[in-house]
Structure formats: structure tokens, C-alpha cells
Amino acid sequence: MEARPFSDTSFDRFLDEEKLMGSRCDTCGALFVPPRPLCIACGGSEMEWVKMRGTGTLRAFTCIAVGPPAMRQEGYGRARPYCTGVVELDEGCRVVARIEDVNTNDPQTISIGMPVTVMFLHRGEGPDKTTYLAFKPAEGSEP
């Protein structure tokens, strides 16, 4: 694991393995999710992989009724919007991710500040396999 380059490709492969990974600067300790190869805080270039707990808070979202072709193929559209948003991880970094298990036909029920936990949406098989980062309302929290 440690030998993987600090790249988007590595980030995506980790998602395939159901791991949400970031990079931490050896020099100053700054954390980046998705990973960065170069530290933009101190200029350091030595990084180490860190696994995120996968819990966080919803900071912004949207429910999209007119989506790209890939989402239309998944059955999303005007009658069934999908939610995507910005999640602040408990470790402090933010990620953009799909938001699942929320009522996208009534977005007023989705609240900023709501605790969320990670999910991994696997699509395709073999070399075509892609995993999308997603979050859902945390157990016991109001969606």
C-alpha cells in the first residue's frame, strides 16, 4: 500500500477496495483528501498514506434533475433527481461525493450539518470497474 504513488489513480483504486485514503505530509503533517503528491502547505514532497474513518458532516449539496448521460443511464432524471454534495470529514478535509439515502424529491428534508458515513458505489466489472465515493446519513441521525 505504501508504495502506491500519491495520485488520483491510486485514490480510485483504494475506493475500489472500499478505502477512503488521503496523503499526509511527512514534514508539516498537513492532510490532503484526495491525496496530493506535493504539499501545498509547506512545499514538502514526502507523503504517507492515511486511511480516513469515513465519517463526516454535510456542508453543501444539490439535487440534480438534469444530469449527465451516465446518470441518466442509471435511471436518474426529472422524476428521480440524485443528490451530490460536499462532505467535511471528521479529520478536517473535504471531499465531493454522491449523497445517498436522502429524499431528493423533497430537498428541504436534507440538512447542512447532518452527520454522514461513507459508502462505496461499485459500477462495472473487471477493467471497466469504477467506484464512486458516496455518503449516507449516519445511523440514528435525521436525514
Partner: protein, 421 residues
């Protein structure tokens, strides 16, 4: 503190032009540029010989995708008789022609060229709405794309963060939309020349003529609340929060300041010019601002030696209603969290103390993305010179105006300050 910058040589705008924006089945990119170029040459009080133009900088985001033709610099150069002199395309997503303007300014300021044509073009209507959304999404950042964000989606998310932080709501955005429509109805080159009230009346008329149930909206806000009239695109962004799909072109002639008198006795001087870059939603420290805008504004204000209060009117990049509110805060016109109140109080209206988007903005004038940055310059030119017709800002003493152009999801932002002396 940003370093204070200045141009090595003053630069003036001596003429501007734009095509009528809209969706045109029978006009291609060259036709639009010719229309803008003709208007530009006609706008130069003492005339210009096109053979004297040293170089062309042309902003274009993605005619490659929209029209299956790339490399528009030399194509446009050819049609205006500019070949074999140089033509350079600039790309900064929806800020592409603001970058062309900036490169033109630098080329003259350096002393290398004296007379430079800058402009932009985009033809988007050959594609379906879904395809245009896909094409524009090429200018999000990769993480946003993978999370299935669309452009309206990014600004929808910005709106939810803004609403939460400042206790604003969707109703506040209606004020932006109503104002944009009311300004655009006075702009002959705008794509949508109707107020919200006129749109309501025409829908009522149509329902009557077809014998359908006649809608009864009490006012503009009730119309905008009606999901049948104003469907959701990317909540809370609805149809009337979004700029349209547009075709069009724009251009401006820039010259060394000392040469301006050969073209006009009434040029606009480029007194501030700034550009910044930004990161995606995940890396923004504050989801309710665009750091690229703030950086560009500081650079331009620093160069001009003035602040936001001295800007008398501005065109800002209102690709979505929430964007206008965020920009007027980022540019310092209003304090953070005060933008939506300023719009509600009418302070940004044509007759308000700080008119914003007198052209109707991207929302109603139209947004052929690569043409927008210089088209904003066209509006400021007409307003400062008192040539804006029915939508002329009253008061008579207009001297300083500015344009703010945003590319992608805030990845490239520019701010340009123009002065009439």
C-alpha cells in the same frame, strides 16, 4: 498582501462590438464574429483600417466540442483579412475572452504591439441541452465530474451553503432573476427581452388561446415558485436561475494609450486588470466565496488605486442567480452575507446606487461562453459613454465601470476596471 502591479504602457479601448446573442440555426461562428467585428469598426469614432491591426487574441472555450471544429484563431483571422499576422486562442472556460482581453493588454503594454483586436466566440446551439451540459461539465474539476456535479449543481451546492450560513433562501434569488429580466428587456442584443411579468402574460395568453386552464399567479414571485413554470434543474437552482444556451461573438479594439486620439476623443482606459485561479468545491476554505475572484479584484483595485466604492457599475458573471450575489460580495461591493439583502433592497437595480448587470447579465443577455468576457466590456463601454439607450444608467457622471468574468467552477476569474476620462 498582493504585490502592487502596473502596466508598462497605458492601454485604451477605442471600439467594441458584439453580435446579437441567442440561438441561431442559420448562423455559424464566422457569421457571429463578422457581425461583432462590423459593429466594432462602426463604433470607432474616427475609423480604423483593419490592415493596421497587429494581432488577434480570441477567446473560445470549446467550439471543438460544440461544433466539432477547433483552432478558431486563424479561421477568424482569415475572415477579417488579418492573415498572415498572428492569431492566438485563449481558453479559460467561461472566462476565455477575458483572458484574450488581458493578453491583448499585456501585448500592448509590453510595447510589442500598438493595435490589437481581442474578442471571443462560442456556438453552442447545435447541441442538445444534455450535450451542452456535458460539454460545460468538461470545465468542472475531475473530482466534481466523478461526483456527478453539473454546472448548475456546483452553484446549487454553493447556494445551500450560502443559505445555511446567512439565513437566506430561494426567494431571495428571485430578486436577481426579476432584475435581470427587467434590464434585458431594454437591451436590443439580449437573448431574452422580456420581463418576468411579460413572460407571465404571454403564458396566460397562450393558455387562453389554446383553451387550457389559465394560470393565476398573484405576482412574479408566485410565478417563480410554480414548479410547472419554473422547474428544478439542480436544487435550489431552477430554470429561471440559470443562464441559457447561446451563440454569439464579441470583440474590442485595444491600442496604446498615446495612440487612442487617432481613433476617438472618448476612449476608455484600462486602469485595473486582475486574474486569479481557484480550486474545486472540495478544496475551498469557504464555500460561499470564490478565492479567484477575490484575488483578481485585489490585483485590479491595487493597480487602479481605487476600491469597490469607486466602481459605479459592474457586469458580473451571473451564470446562476446565486453567483451574482456571491460575486458582489467577493468584489467588495457589499459585505459577506449582505449581497442578497442589497439585491432585495433594489440597490443593484438600474436605478439603484450600484447597478449590476445592466445588460441583463448572462442570465438574459445570453452566455455564449467564450464571448462573454468581452461582451461585458461592450456593456461598460456603452454605459460609460452614455450610449446605452433605454437602459442608460441615469446621473450623467459615469466614469468608472468594471467587469467580472468567471471560468469553470471558479477556476479562472478576472476583474477589469475601465475609466472614461
Amino acid at each position: 498582501m498582493q504585490k502592487k502591479r502596473k502596466l508598462g504602457r497605458g492601454v485604451a479601448v477605442v471600439g467594441v462590438g458584439m453580435s446579437k446573442f441567442g440561438m441561431f440555426k442559420d448562423k455559424d461562428s464566422k457569421d457571429h464574429f463578422v457581425e461583432a467585428f462590423r459593429e466594432m469598426t462602426a463604433s470607432i469614432d474616427k475609423g480604423v483600417d483593419p490592415n493596421d491591426i497587429d494581432a488577434l487574441y480570441l477567446g473560445n472555450f470549446s467550439n471543438d466540442f460544440f461544433t466539432h471544429q477547433a483552432h478558431w484563431g486563424p479561421i477568424v483571422a482569415d475572415i477579417i483579412g488579418h492573415v498572415p499576422k498572428p492569431a492566438t486562442r485563449t481558453e479559460g472556460a467561461c472566462a476565455s475572452s477575458a483572458l484574450a482581453f488581458r493578453e491583448g493588454v499585456f501585448a500592448i503594454a509590453s510595447g510589442f504591439y500598438d493595435i490589437v483586436l481581442v474578442g471571443g466566440l462560442e456556438v453552442m446551439s447545435m447541441r442538445s441541452t444534455e450535450e451542452v451540459a456535458e460539454g460545460l461539465a468538461l470545465a468542472t474539476i475531475p473530482y466534481e465530474g466523478k461526483a456527478a456535479f453539473t454546472f448548475p449543481g456546483v452553484f446549487g451546492a454553493t447556494a445551500t451553503a450560502y443559505f445555511d450560513r446567512y439565513q437566506a433562501n430561494r426567494e431571495h434569488l428571485f430578486n436577481v432573476t426579476i432584475k435581470s429580466h427587467s434590464n434585458a428587456r431594454l437591451n436590443p442584443r439580449a437573448q431574452y427581452r422580456a420581463s418576468i411579468r411579460e413572460i407571465m402574460d404571454s403564458k396566460i395568453d397562450r393558455a387562453r388561446k389554446k383553451g387550457m386552464e389559465v394560470p393565476t399567479w398573484a405576482d412574479e414571485k408566485e410565478f417563480l415558485r410554480d414548479p410547472a413554470a419554473n422547474p428544478v434543474v439542480a436544487w435550489p437552482m431552477h430554470l429561471f436561475d440559470c443562464c441559457p444556451i447561446s451563440d454569439g461573438a464579441s470583440c474590442a479594439l485595444l491600442v496604446g494609450e498615446e495612440l487612442a486620439k487617432d481613433f476617438t476623443d472618448d476612449p476608455l482606459h484600462v486602469i485595473g486588470i486582475g486574474q486569479g485561479s481557484g480550486r474545486g468545491l472540495h478544496a475551498k476554505e469557504d464555500l460561499t466565496t470564490f478565492e479567484a475572484t477575490r484575488f483578481a479584484a485585489q490585483e485590479a483595485y491595487g493597480m487602479a488605486g481605487i476600491g469597490p466604492t469607486e466602481i459605479q457599475l459592474a457586469e458580473v458573471h451571473d451564470c446562476f442567480s446565486i453567483a451574482e450575489i456571491v460575486h458582489i460580495e467577493d468584489l467588495g461591493f457589499f459585505k459577506p452575507g449582505e449581497g442578497y439583502k442589497a439585491v432585495e433592497e433594489g440597490r443593484t437595480r438600474l436605478d439603484g446606487p450600484k447597478p449590476i448587470n445592466t445588460s441583463g447579465g448572462l442570465k438574459c443577455k445570453g452566455h455564449p461562453v467564450g464571448a462573454t468576457g468581452v461582451a461585458q466590456i461592450v456593456e461598460i463601454w456603452e454605459q460609460l459613454r452614455g450610449e446605452a439607450g433605454e437602459r442608460q444608467v441615469a446621473g450623467g457622471d459615469l466614469r468608472v465601470g468594471a467587469t467580472h468574468n468567471l471560468g469553470g467552477t471558479g477556476g479562472t476569474c478576472t476583474f477589469t476596471i475601465l475609466e472614461r476620462r
